[in-house]
Structures are given as structure tokens and as C-alpha cells.
Chain length 243, copies 2
DNA sequence: GCAAATTTGTCCGTATGTATC
DNA sequence: AGATACATACGGACAAATTTG
């Protein structure tokens, strides 16, 4: 019998729980400093290895942030873990089946459909003008697949949900967008017509919001994802022409 | 100069990337075995500490799963990281502000609103009967706050989205449900009337689906979350009676 | 049921890289 | 530049869990 007793749990799990409890009980905020590794070892009675592994676990969840040679701090609590997790799942499935990517597009559309009413009621003309300006910048990026397009597209969708005043919705929306953007390039072959249709869809989205027509908004969103769905279907056929 | 050179990146990051690349290139699936720690050390030229920390990072994202004394395997790629991350954020905010919980309820309702049409068109009478049976079991769990309620509630919402045939939607839905269930108890004071209203709302949701009325579905979902919102507002007042 | 082999969990000591003052 | 504080990385040793003969 080494000491009290570990029950059945792993030490680094307990350390991880202790660190989280420490943050909660002291009501720390993102950026606030945490004890050093040595302090944690002494306080929690664990070796550096266990403490470090626990910290790395929390780091992956963005609950703590580690700065080399500086210290350990409370993390930003972003959704980076969701992005990394979903991205890997998407990449792993894109080899044989594009099911995950297809599901993800469904979720994005579902999400925006659900926001239709609130977006229409809460966006003012200032927001709409900014959205129009973003759309104007979309096709001008070059002959086609300039990576400036994706940045403008991201800004568009971010601004679309920003006025909802719900930080979580914005973060989830951007997380889904990020995952899609990382996984989708494996679809290859994005035609010029696709881009034109996409720009038109964005313009129709703004138009529908400006006119306060929920049905048009939903329709424009559906048209926004139509070329994406078509590319996924084509990629699926390329891989298993059977079914 | 020890060897080639690490450039500027962290070694465990590179190890982490290598493990992910290994899974992707070999098209491994959840449950498939990965090389042992010793093998990874030899193959990647890193110490056991670095390999272990990298594995722990991937473990937190459910990309790998580690079984003590058995081996390391490809993880289930679930959304457990999202649950843990969002849960912690919610717990951290419940001390002063219930903003995160409020946002989360918004997201859940938004999500179910967006699914309205598809749920109505794709649920058959068999699903509806099962949903009704679940609702019947809801109030019978005891005098009130029996934890059997939450299990039935979870099953209800799981079954509601299951027929959509989109695994990601189901997992996200359950992830949001899990986070809410863990964070919400901090609201305290759940009245008997709240439970009655909640059961009624569930019944109205099924009724709306059965009758194919989207508006009624959306209304029933809103009523489902009404008592929750009220409790959040009350908790907020308890903490800062000023604003 | 026991014992050996394999694999992960934990600990310690040491050296190095990085940031701050 | 030097000193200090901190995280990063290494290697070896032993403990604990699991499987297999």
C-alpha cells in the first residue's frame, strides 16, 4: 500500500480534474496564470510526467494554454478541439466514403435554416451593406480558385450570424465552416460555374434578408449548398461507380 | 547539434501529426491497433515522454484510445472533446453569468427548429409510437426529480433525430444535450410545474410531427425550452439583482 | 491458479531551449 | 550579457494491467 489509495482511476485523470477544479473554484478567466508544473507536482503529489500529460490533455481542449519558457495559463475555451476532431474524421472518411462531408454540409445548412427568422429580424441595413460589399469582393479575386475567396466567404458567414448576439452560435458556425474548408479541397474539380453560382447564392441570401422573406432566405441557402452537394455526389461516383 | 534539427516546431506536435498521418495513410478504422509506444519512439525518433504526450493529446480528441496494459488503438472519433470543452465553459460561466447556458439553449432550439421539416417528412408511425411510449414513461418516474427522467428525455431527443440518417446531426444533438444536462443542475429549483410543462411540450412535439404541422412543431419546441429560459433568467436575477 | 511476456502508467534525474528581467 | 524561471526533451527504472501458456 503506497498511500491512501487510487481506487481505480488514473493519476493523470485526477490531476486533470484537480486542475479544472482549481480553475473553477478560483473563478479564473482565459489568460489567467496557473501554477507552474513544479507547483502542481508538489500540490497534487504527482510526478512531472503525470502533471505534464494531464496538462497536455487539457491543452488539447483549449482549457489550458502553455507558453514555452513562460508559464501555463487558462485557455481560451474555443472550439478548436471540435474543429480538429471533426476535421480528422472527415479526412479519414474521404478516402472511401464522403459521408462525413455530406453530413457536415447538411449540418451547416440545417444550422443556417434554423437561424433564418432571427437573422432576418436582427440584421440592420448597416450589416446588410457590409455583407453586400463582401459579396462584391468575391469574384474579383482572380481567375478562379484564389485563396482570397475563402477568406471573404468566412467573413461573410461570420458577419451573417454575428448580430444574433449569441457567441456560441457564431463559434459553432465558424467551426463547421473551418472543418468544411479543410476537408473539402479533397473533392477536387471546382468549376468556374460553381463559383459563379456560389456568389449568386450569397447575393440572394443578402437580398432575402433585406426583403425580410424567410422562404427566399431558405431557398438561397439551399442553392448555396447545391453545387457542394453535386460535387460530393460526383466524387462518390468516382470512387465507387457501383452503387 | 543533436541531429537534423527541429526547426521551430514542438516535437510532440510533430509526433502527433505523424500518428494522424499514419492512421490516414493506412486507412485505419476505429478500434484498429496502433504501434506500441516503443515502436513509435523508434520509428519517429522521439523519446517516450514526447510520444506519450502526443498520444495523450490525440486521446483527448478521441482520435486514439489507450488501454492500460493492452495497447493503443484508433479512437471512436466521437464528439467527447466538444462535450468536455463546452461543459467546462458552461461551468466556468455559471458562477457569475449564465450567458453560456443561455446561448446553449438557444443553439439547441435553433438546431431543432432547423430540423423541423426533415423530421416531419421522415418519421414514420413506428417512430412516433415509440416517441409516445417514451413520453408516457416520463412523469411516472416518481415524485419529481428522479434521474430516470433524464434518461428518457435523452432517448426521446435521440430518437427524434435518428431517422434523419445523418450521424453527425445525431451526435451534435446528443453532445448539446449532454452539456446542458451537466451544466443545468447548477440552476437549482426545478418546480413540479416545470416538469409537467416539459412533458406536455414533448407530447405536443410528437403530435405536431404526426399531424405534419411545421408551425406547431416549432411552437412546441419553443414551449419545451420556455421553462428552461425562465429558470436561467431567475438564476441570473438571483446573482445580480441589479441589471 | 500461477507465471511469464507485453504494454501502458508513474517516477526520478538531467540536460536543453525559451522568455523575462 | 548574465541570471533566473519555466517548459521541453531525454533515458532509465519500476509499478500496474492485460493476455497467454
Amino acid at each position: 500500500m503506497t498511500e491512501v489509495r487510487v481506487g481505480r482511476s488514473l493519476l493523470r485523470q485526477e490531476v486533470s480534474e484537480s486542475i479544472k477544479r482549481y480553475i473553477l473554484e478560483n473563478k479564473l478567466r482565459p489568460g489567467d496564470p496557473l501554477p507552474t508544473e513544479s507547483d502542481l507536482c508538489a500540490t497534487l503529489g504527482a510526478s512531472r510526467s503525470s502533471v505534464r500529460e494531464a496538462v497536455k490533455t487539457l491543452n488539447a481542449l483549449d482549457i489550458v494554454e502553455v507558453r514555452h519558457g513562460h508559464g501555463t495559463y487558462v485557455g481560451r475555451l474555443s472550439l478548436s478541439a471540435l474543429v480538429e476532431s471533426l476535421t480528422f474524421r472527415g479526412l479519414l472518411s474521404s478516402g472511401d466514403d464522403f459521408r462525413v462531408l455530406s453530413d457536415l454540409v447538411d449540418v451547416r445548412e440545417l444550422f443556417e435554416r434554423g437561424m433564418a427568422d432571427r437573422i432576418i429580424s436582427q440584421l440592420d441595413s448597416g450589416h446588410l451593406d457590409t455583407l453586400d460589399a463582401l459579396v462584391d469582393r468575391m469574384p474579383a479575386q482572380g481567375t478562379g480558385d484564389g485563396d482570397g475567396f475563402v477568406e471573404v466567404d468566412r467573413a461573410f458567414h461570420a458577419l451573417l450570424v454575428e448580430p444574433l448576439g449569441n457567441e456560441l452560435i457564431g463559434q459553432l458556425s465558424m467551426a463547421f465552416w473551418d472543418v468544411y474548408t479543410i476537408v473539402a479541397p479533397h473533392l477536387k474539380v471546382i468549376t468556374f460555374q460553381d463559383e459563379v453560382d456560389t456568389v449568386t447564392a450569397h447575393r440572394n441570401i443578402v437580398k432575402a434578408v433585406r426583403e425580410g422573406r424567410t422562404e427566399d432566405f431558405v431557398k438561397a441557402v439551399a442553392e448555396h449548398y447545391a453545387p457542394v452537394r453535386r460535387r460530393i455526389a460526383e466524387a462518390r461516383l468516382r470512387i465507387e461507380p457501383g452503387a
